[in-house]
């Protein structure tokens, strides 16, 4: 499969702070990629650089082989983009927004647009300024998907939506994905959303892509190890794969990437009363991973993933 999105050393500074730092990505056609990160981690800026809305200070981004800031209109027509907060012209009605988007798109699918509007029960005469956040997100999705894009880029599409609307929105998105088999790149800070939809994830921590691997692989790679002592817990030594260590009473909680025999032997050498290895769900794994000592986080890439003496190396 050819790569639809390629970024090389993509970097952006705001106020001398790198909000995106050396982002290297390759997204193959047909992938559903979830870009995760806490608020302010650089997700939106990375997406805007990919679409040519923000100019990188260093590096480059390519979509369909074209430099992002020089996308031809024909190439842009192959890409749908849902910006954060679903900016639409609020004076328009749903029907006017559809007509405007249709007039601008050479590949507009009227039947699909009607189906999506009906599915969401959106009235054609309703003013966009009177819609709820959820309804506005649904209109945005209808406008984006009806252009029959080959690549759909969504910037935190479920931000500000309540749980029910979010679930509905994502299920519609899944239906669209299954029906069309498109490449989808979306950012989110809600792990449940990503887990349901993405087959590959990336995690940005302070602008640095710390994780880039299949979703299941990420979950499988992270373990929480709880060592219980009869006394005050000793210091756990630095080792490859250690994300965080925290003493809670007589327990020492460790978060490790690629837990292996080396880690187990190291833990046993501290002579704890018990060792408990806990599998984490994606949300817990993400929280543990992103709240660790940020700059020293091990980088997780590709599949399979092995812990080596000089850090974590991945064979893509």
């Amino acid at each position: 499969m050819p790569d639809v999105i390629v970024t090389q050393r993509l970097t952006k500074y705001y106020d001398r702070r790198a909000v995106v730092d050396g982002l290297e990505l390759r997204i193959a056609q047909g992938t559903v990629y979830g870009l995760l990160g806490r608020n302010g981690s650089g997700k939106s800026t990375a997406i805007k650089m990919m679409l040519g809305m923000v100019h990188p200070d260093r590096g480059r981004a390519e979509l369909f082989g074209e430099e992002a800031s020089r996308l031809r209109p024909q190439t842009r027509a192959r890409i749908a983009y849902l910006a954060e907060g679903h900016p639409l012209y609020r004076w328009m009605t749903d029907g006017e927004a559809v007509r405007f988007a249709r007039a601008c798109s050479p590949t507009w699918n009227d039947v699909l647009a009607e189906q999506i509007l009906d599915h969401f029960a959106l009235a054609r005469r309703a003013k966009i300024r009177r819609l709820s956040n959820g309804e506005r997100a649904q209109v945005s999705l209808a406008l984006a998907v009806s252009t029959e894009p080959e690549l759909l880029i969504l910037d935190d599409p479920t931000l500000g939506l309540d749980t029910v609307v979010r679930r509905d929105f994502l299920e519609s998105l899944i239906q669209i994905i299954q029906r069309r088999g498109r490449t989808i790149f979306f950012s989110s800070h809600i792990l449940g959303d990503v887990e349901r939809v993405a087959d590959r994830i990336g995690i940005l921590v302070d602008g640095v892509l710390r994780v880039d691997c299949p979703t299941d692989h990420f979950k499988d790679s992270i373990r929480k190890v709880v060592l219980e002592f009869a006394r005050t817990p000793p210091e756990f030594p630095d080792c490859p794969g250690l994300v965080s260590r925290r003493a809670v009473g007589r327990k020492l909680e460790l978060v490790l990437v690629g837990y292996n025999d080396g880690h187990r032997e190291l833990a046993e050498s501290l002579q704890p009363a018990s060792i408990e290895v806990i599998e984490l769900n994606l949300e817990d794994a993400f929280i543990e991973y992103t709240r660790g000592p940020r700059r020293s986080l091990p980088i997780l890439a590709g599949e399979p993933c092995d812990v080596q003496s000089d850090g974590i190396q991945g064979a893509a």
Partner: protein, 223 residues
Amino acid sequence: MFKAMVSKELRETVGIAALALAAYAVVVLSQTGISLLPWLTPSYPDDRIGPVPFVSDGFLYGFAWVSVPFAVVLGFVQTAVESARGTWLFLLHRPASRRRILTVKLLTGGGLYLACAALPILIYMGWAASSGRHASPFKASMTLGAWLVWLSVGGLYLGAFLAGIRPGRWFGSRLFPVLAAALLVVAIQVVPWWWTVGLGATLALGAWLVVDIFFIARTRDFS
């Protein structure tokens, strides 16, 4: 796509244009003796002949008082509102070049200003050219001053358009293009050699602002 974009721009600015046309109507009517706002109507107690249209009446002042805010608000709304509502991201992702999208905006807004502002001059000109309206001769060349204001205030429209699209940390510094354009517009008004210098300066100002608008749109971050 061109038609849809023009239609969108017109829908967003029609309210401003309607207000400006109403204000122009008050100016023209007050000059023709129909005073809707008596406290704004000029009086000429010592002048037995009465004011000469376009030469010694209050039309130019009234026209300028309406045209300047109209042009500034129009240009600013076309760009600053897109920034404030975050809709640049939606608009600029339409499958058209950034230059084309901005050209449509400029042609629509600029055309709207020129059309709306030309209307009161033409109507007042028609009134002045009709016999029996006033006790003075009338020639089309007497309207030159009004057309000069009409054209040069177009520079203010472009300055305001640029101010709205130009990123700036401090709101005041964003307004520099409007202030610069305003200074040049005033300077152009007092140039005595209109055909040789004034017209050229007006066109040069417009060209400089348009080039700057395209440059800013190409190089700024829409975040």
